[in-house]
Symmetry: C2
Subunit: 225 residues, 2 copies
Amino acid sequence: MAADTKNIILDTAERLIAEKGIDAVSLRSITSEASVNLAAVHYHFGSKEALVEKVFERRVTPLNSRRLQMLTEAEERAVGDQLEVEDVLRALIAPALRLYQQEGCEGRQFMQMCGRIYSEQAGYVQRIFDKLFEEIVARFFVAFRRALPEIPEADRAWRIHFCVGSMIHTMSDSDRLKRFTNGMCDPSDTEATIERMVQFCAAGLRAEVTEHEVAGELAKTEVAG
Amino acid sequence: MAADTKNIILDTAERLIAEKGIDAVSLRSITSEASVNLAAVHYHFGSKEALVEKVFERRVTPLNSRRLQMLTEAEERAVGDQLEVEDVLRALIAPALRLYQQEGCEGRQFMQMCGRIYSEQAGYVQRIFDKLFEEIVARFFVAFRRALPEIPEADRAWRIHFCVGSMIHTMSDSDRLKRFTNGMCDPSDTEATIERMVQFCAAGLRAEVTEHEVAGELAKTEVAG
DNA sequence: GCACAATTGAAACAGACGTTTGAATTAGAT
DNA sequence: ATCTAATTCAAACGTCTGTTTCAATTGTGC
């Protein structure tokens, strides 16, 4: 049946891309692993690029839906009250890290892939991701502004950037941490990892903003502390 | 002269790899850009893999030397006294981010490349990086333990992991932040970025460790705070 | 059972890749 | 000037890539 072939290709492509990266996976390795004909890829998807897009879309869309849902719930819980940074962070982080132990090991592989691919150089991958995450970024920036109104705009943006970095690195590379700490840090304990990260990021986001001097040829700035 | 050809290849390879990634850059694109013969790569380096290794080694070795130097200075300043987290973080972060405005735009490109390549999938790239950063990781883990003795071992390791994630993401992808904030966050203001990051990471590292319940089938842990 | 569309199949396409070869050229020492 | 070693050069090697083609097969409505 048609749907089967299509899904088998998607599943196999996802697994192989997660293991080796987009460039290192050929259509032939996908189709032979999936036991389908090479031409099936172009029949069902049109091109390798389109296949890759579908692979990501299939996972990222529900992931981001869950994020928005958690964020909306947190916002509704906080009407007239203060929106807690921890809740915003949890909405951003938890759905992603929970992929780790979802649906066999596919979710985990996809999570690692996402982290790795996020800063991919290839132009069309950038485009795919920018499109998939546009809404998320905008919504969370607003939420963080509401949760941290006392932090200057630029500092808050930078700190969100740092948080995203921690998240991506944890998604893609926490196995290396486990290896390096001889198993002491175990990324498979998902909920604990989430809470550790929420703690870390919340403290970083809330840190007191101390003025710093501007480097280089610019004059020292004198700003009230 | 021999040295010239070799260095021209290294420079060109670095620039192109930084722009497009290792896999996307062919030896032919490197040699034609550098106006040298294709076979020169194999004559001077032996293989593409060996060339890539030299490209990284040439930059990473002095970068890590500077890190160790700054760390040693901080440690010596703190004999008999407390080692400040901020100083350890600065030793880790500053030499890397300062590549941004070093030596034309080459340093910047290399910095971005490093961040991107760090979580590369290809086996030999992993090996190159593990080797280049082995000493650094060990030394900084010790330093952070000294600066943060009150943080439990596992939490500290996780938090260092988060810091590294922030750093790598900032190295590779802060241009996207600038684009997204309409220029409000400017990564070219290197020293300010360093201080922002030091602030963020220091607060995250120092955050109070609140016990969290272990998820899944494991029983709740009861640990003294 | 027939016709028609949807799907699969095997084979080939042109182009790019890393690597190798062996002759031509250049540089340095005697 | 001559010999020798280092370096450069053009050309080809075999292999892999994404894509296309067209015949064979399968499923579906009548």
